[in-house]
Amino acid sequence: MQPSLRAIILTELLVPLALLVFGAYHGVLQVLYRAGAIRATSFGGIDYYQGLTAHGVINAIVLTTMFAVALGHALVSQELESPLSIFGAGLSLGLMLIGAVMAAAMIFLGKATVLYTFYPPLKAHPIFYLGLALFIVGSWIALFTWIPVYLRWRKSHPGQKTPLAVVGMFATFIIWQMATLPVAYEVLVMLLPWSLGWTPGVNVVLSRTLFWFFGHPLVYFWLLPIYVLYYTMLPRLAGGKLFSDFAGRLSFMAFIVLSCPLGLHHQFADPGIPASWKAVQTVLTLMVAIPSMLTAFTLAASLEHAAHQRGGSGLFGWWKALPYFSHENWLFPYLFCGLVIFLFGGITGIINASYNMNSVIHNTAWIPAHFHLTVAGPVFLGILGMSLFLITGLLNKPVAAIPTALAVPYIWMIGTFTFSTGLFIGGLRGEPRRTNLGLTYLNPASPSYRPDWWISTHIGAIGGVIMGFAILLYFVVLIRSLLAPARVNVAPFTIPLSEAYHDENVASVRNFTPWVTVAVVLCVAAYYVPMRDIIRSKYQPAPAYSPGSAVPLANVR
């Protein structure tokens, strides 16, 4: 690998991990606030909602995006056996760093306490919006550095299958490209001029609809790099082969088609959007279950195949033969535990997407319980494990304290399940998400005190503290590995990828163009009418508010 590309990848992995120290710290603080263990607006100089904003932006945007770019650089350059444009990769990194610093600075100065969804008319500082926009543009440039490499490879390898890992990373970033265009419009054309005071108000329904056009594919953007690890690394780590290479390609193409035209399922409770179009997008949402279940099947089959290679037998007995605590394959449990967590994330996702069933749980604690089983399950464990793998590999260092490294995913899984159990129960009892419960609902001195939320918030708190402990152990392993002396005379680092069980005909899923075309057509079909109605609507534009005052900002000036 090019030395400068190596430096870029290492920066993209280490900077968000450093930010994660705060992101994880405030995750633990939140469960303590929510259980009433902290009864204050702020702790250690950081307000609850300010910390919640940082937790969302750092963990769900900065960490996930920079990891996806780093993994893409590594896999594309390795699998297509070609150097990448250092100018492109460097520009991408530079914009992402500047954007992240701008947004983080505004959050820590208390000028952007608007949560990571930044719903207007709560207003953040213009630098926050500008930072987010630069960050997103930086991530786009990563894809643009891979495209010429891919096209050259296709030309020089006629008739050959594109490596599955490359197909997966391209699918990830094609979805990202489609999904981020509307949110870039929202941020740059609607919110930025409004936050500067140039426009008097915003169309709130339109901005929410543009945000959620982005907000749900964002979830697939988090997940697909992990799907790449599942398809291309997990079978080999388990000691076997990928059961079906075709299933992987089909899943990635299906995600391109189905990721975007379904954001309305986040707006079931919103006014201003016809129920019929919410129903149309419900059907499209549920169709995503098909590639997901196909993936679950293929991975389970691959694991079974691997277990048989290791001497496992029986209809269920083969489970015992997988390398759960193998020192050589310490990465296996990071991917495996994530997969187990994801089963429950997927099932609860189907519940949330089921139209009127959403009324029971919309905006309750059930929602973070669900998405922590996706983004804090397979995604986060995949990022932790693969970052450690790449960092130590690229620096030629051994992974220190392997028994501790092996314990992290299991402890994290126990913590996540406990946390989510508490929040699922609380959500069904009406406990709201995104709320500093300790000040009122979990405070016996408040007229709003709700003793029936005591148990659920406390189960959530125990889970959150266990998750915090797992992260602490992870940082011990990471720092000790970074401090270890580099090995000499080792073979150049490559990411070990799985072979396929057999050679399938993949002609139908070889080219991206037809799948992207269908995706664009579906997006237009699913969004044209509701979007047209929202734009034509005569809603009074909403003036800006700061989170600290009930008086509109225009009146304060």
């Binding site: 307000d47 006014p271 139209y355 009324s359 009406g430 709320t435 600290g548 005052s549 009930a550």
Partner: protein, 261 residues
């Protein structure tokens, strides 16, 4: 198990196709169940109502015997009305909108779960068979005192008709306190929320965070409005923003607080 004698390539394809079919059937079944709940059980979600005028104040309206409409105005950081009492067996059409930012509106224990967006109307429908307290919670982050924002519906067999608390007053000084944002944190009924209630505040001795005490009089009220950061009060977070009010407005508010004994 007969398939195990096939060559691997065909075996994989066959099992794969079966998996794909099962996944498709499962998805179709889920969609069919949703369609059943919509068409047969009439379960629905909020929709677009472009021609409905948006109200500016909360209110209760009687449409018939035990058949009421309640217009809830969501605003930083309370609902208007804050409490509604209805007889057992009542049917409520609730209409919800927001005066300022995005709020949430869920009547716990019912199917009513809505988003309240500024100047956009949304509705829900609920029937109360059992007496009890039904809590309404704002479930979308709406600013610093979001956790204080709730209301309740009391379903009682002691009453014959609807009544409500927390509806807007016609009093000019109250309207001024409302317009300047004071009432977001200071109640007028004795309830302590983000800040002390205006009711009974006049003439009290305030404990300052630095250990000193101050009598609540005209000069202290004026200094708390113009420079709240100068004298933080013990037991309250120092979150009050300074308000650039005129002397005349401050006099009106002072008189208002004085009268709320």
């Amino acid at each position: 198990m007969a398939s195990s004698s096939l060559p691997p390539q065909e075996r994989v394809s066959r099992i794969e196709k079966q998996a794909l079919w099962i996944a498709t059937l499962f998805t179709a079944l889920t969609i069919a169940l949703i369609a059943y709940s919509v068409f047969a059980l009439h379960a629905s979600v909020p929709t677009c109502m472009p021609n409905m005028p948006v109200f500016k104040h909360g209110s209760i309206i009687k449409h018939g015997d035990k058949n009421y409409e309640v217009d809830f105005l969501a605003r930083m950081w309370r609902f208007e009305p804050s409490k509604v009492v209805v007889p057992v067996g009542s049917t409520l059409d609730v209409a919800v909108t927001s005066k300022d930012v995005t709020h949430g509106f869920q009547i716990l224990g019912t199917d009513v779960n809505l988003m309240a967006l500024p100047f956009v109307l949304t509705t829900g429908h609920v029937h109360f068979d059992k007496p009890g307290i039904y809590h309404i919670v704002c479930h979308e982050y709406c600013g610093a005192a979001h956790q204080n924002m709730n209301a309740l519906i009391e379903v009682s067999n002691q009453v014959d008709d609807i009544s409500a608390e927390g509806l807007p007053s016609l009093d000019a000084a109250h309207a001024l306190a409302d317009a300047k944002g004071c009432l977001a944190c200071h109640s007028t009924d004795g309830t302590v929320t983000v800040g002390p209630s205006f009711k009974g505040l006049w003439g009290q001795t305030s404990q300052l965070a630095d250990g000193n005490t101050r009598m609540v009089d005209a000069s202290f009220i004026k200094s708390m409005i113009l420079h709240p950061e100068a004298t933080p009060i013990k037991g309250f977070d120092p979150v009050m923003p300074a308000q650039a009010l005129t002397d005349d407005e401050i006099d009106q508010l002072t008189t208002y607080i004085q009268e709320l004994q």
